[in-house]
Amino acid sequence: MLLKVKDLKVSVDGSVILNGLNLDVDRGEVHVLMGPNGAGKSTLVNTIMGHPQYKVEAGEILFDGKDITHAPANERAKAGLFLSFQNPEEVPGVTLESFLRTSRMSVTGKPVRLFAFKKELAEKMKDLDMDAEYASRYLNVGFSGGEKKKSEILQMLMTRPQLAILDETDSGLDVDAVKIVSQGVEKFHSSENSLLIITHSTKILEYLNVDYVHVLMDGRIVRSGGSGLIREINANGFQQLAASV
């Protein structure tokens, strides 16, 4: 199992958000996490990534067999975890390119070969329909919502994680951008790596073969199923689904 979340209980500022959550993601799988606003989806993914604001009260998180429940975020990244943020931070004075280089170096622990790196970066930016000029701009500073999301996916492509978690990466994107981003994600996905996708719209899922869908409500997963579950949610909404549980 690549990711194993066991009986996870998480609180933020003293109030319990996740209450006994279980989730297994295996290599090569695509999982979709859905649920109403405030259900705890972002809490879950931020906890998996190791945000210090989220306090693990009980349970554990295993990644690739290792207990990472209390590991700092950078160690999780090195183990192969990646989170595409809903609202990526702006970091003035640090160019996207130098940031990506530092990130690649930190994740792999190996020096980056400059020429090959630049070439790869240019190709991936082209794939994402990003202007080459963005490489020399400060990280996310003054980027539009859509550009920020593309910058997240670019970071994913350049650091090649084993498990990429996409937290509403498709929200705030126009139709064309959703397509480009989805194609990028699809191209990234292989039998060796996995995806955990949080989404409200299902547009992004048109480009991916979904293996599992989970519904998160009131701090735990209330239903899991195949991609058919998406149609059910779209047709009936979460409340009815909850009533039928």
Partner: protein
């Protein structure tokens, strides 16, 4: 998960902190009396006008009270300061002739190498006197004069020019420490660039104060002719002692019609230094002065380079960064007077405070009644690295006509936990994430600095952030 705190260390000052054994050929007693001033004047072989100027300045000094509006100067006792200390060598034009101890100090600071690599000329002052001065032959042939102040004062050709300009822009009556400067000044550089001469690579003066309990009072006078162009770099450092040292230099810059002067400073005094420095530029029609200022050292600094935009369409740009750590109270900023129509000023500053350090940004923008059609923009940003540090902003604007475009923006912030988490989620350690954010904050200033100073500044920041975490 336990919230982590970063313990940030002091700047590694190893290079700056190596002290030489004091090997002065001559020094005055501590304190300040007319006898001491007379003695300095006699030792320096001043012309009579300069001797009188010194004594007059001393009178003014004694009349003016200590400033009471800024950081405390209680630890500064003039009766303990040695105002003049002559190194054991005359000025040389060749590093091989400079005594080994002094030469090695400047070698460690990278001055001779920078001279070979990227400078048109270098002046190096050690305690009260300039020990080395040299300018490239091709620059000399352009008619550029770059020499120590003492030679300039006595020079048959440039002596009268010095007399016409010396402390005319910054008169001794301006404030107490500039009066002190007038009385005991020693060393510094004189630069004259003839009309329409453009000096393509920079000149640099470096000021090193080695002796404990001493003062350094160098005078820098730069005169640019019409349409001339120059980049001048000033660097300063000192090793740390337990007694107070004092720096009260004075810089006067005359920028003629359509001339452009860029004046870059990296100040890295030790943390026992009182840095009470005064800098001023007078800019004629169509002229430009650009200040780039980095303040990292000293115990207390008062530093507000001033530009007087005297001629129509003259401009000033000020870019500054101040970094205050433990035990430092750095009061820095800029002043500008718009005295003519269609003049332009832009002030951009950054300050970083940590470990109880205090940064105060203080500025004054004055637009006179006749100066219509002016533009001025002020932007200051502060970053505090912990709860013990302090950052204040004191901007003053005095605008005497309606036809102006003036903007002011101030931002004070801390490093956000979310930004740290974001960078850490990309594999970067907490320590490196903090350093990355601070370096990024300083980047707009770093890119204005001469490249070797930008590298040095980034290294200083990285060393600062290399604390043990836990």
């Amino acid at each position: 998960m336990e919230k982590k705190k970063t313990q940030v260390q002091d700047i590694d000052r190893t290079i700056y902190d190596i002290r030489d054994k004091v090997n002065a050929s001559y020094q005055v007693e501590e304190g300040l009396t007319p006898e001491i001033v007379e003695e300095i004047s006699a030792k320096k072989n001043d012309p009579e006008w300069m001797r009188e100027f010194r004594l007059k300045s001393l009178e003014i000094y004694n009349r003016i009270p200590m400033p009471a509006w800024g950081p405390s100067l209680d630890g500064l006792h003039m009766e303990d300061i040695i105002t003049y200390i002559r190194p054991n060598t005359p000025m040389r034009g060749n590093w091989a002739q400079v005594p080994d101890d002094i030469k090695n100090t400047f070698e460690r600071l990278g001055i001779p190498k920078a001279e070979r690599d990227s400078l048109a000329g270098v002046g190096a002052q050690y305690d009260s006197e300039v020990v080395y001065h040299n300018v490239r032959e091709e620059v000399r042939r352009q008619g550029v004069v770059y020499t120590d102040m003492e030679s300039a004062v006595r020079d048959p050709v440039y002596g009268p020019m010095v007399r016409d300009h010396f402390m005319k822009l910054v008169p001794p009556t301006d404030h107490k420490f500039v009066a002190l400067h007038g009385a005991v000044w020693s060393g510094g550089s004189f630069v004259y660039v003839p009309p329409h001469v453009k000096v393509s690579i920079p000149l640099q003066s470096y000021f090193r104060l080695n002796a404990p309990g001493a003062g350094q009072f160098e005078h820098t006078l730069i005169i640019l002719g019409e349409g001339a162009d120059l980049h001048f770099i000033e660097g300063c450092s000192a090793p740390k002692y337990n007694v107070a040292n004092l720096h009260a230099g004075c810089v006067e810059l005359y920028v003629a019609k359509n001339a452009r002067l860029r004046y870059s400073t990296i100040e890295n005094w030790s943390k026992n230094m009182y840095n009470l420095n005064t800098k001023r530029a007078l800019v004629e029609e169509g002229g430009t002065v650009e200040w780039v200022s980095g303040s990292f050292g000293s115990h207390v600094s008062y530093l507000y380079p001033m530009s007087i935009l005297k001629g129509e369409n003259s401009r000033m740009e000020f870019t500054g960064i101040t970094f205050a750590g433990k035990g430092q109270n750095l009061d820095t900023g800029a002043k500008v007077v718009h005295a003519a129509p269609h003049t332009y000023s832009s002030i951009n500053t950054k300050s970083i405070s940590k470990d109880g350090g205090v940064c105060t940004y203080r500025s004054s923008v004055e637009i006179l009644p006749q100066a219509y059609g002016c533009r001025s923009s002020v932007n200051c940003e502060s970053l505090m690295l912990d709860d013990r540090s302090r950052s204040d902003t004191v901007p003053v604007m005095d605008i005497r006509n309606d036809d102006v475009d003036v903007g002011h923006e101030a931002k004070i912030g801390r490093i956000s936990d979310d930004a740290i988490f974001y960078l850490m989620s990309r594999g970067i350690s907490e320590e490196d994430a903090r350093a990355m954010i601070v370096t990024g904050f300083a980047e707009p200033v770093a890119k204005e600095l001469p490249v070797e100073y930008a590298v040095e500044m980034n290294n200083l920041i990285k060393l600062e952030m290399e604390g043990a975490i836990g």
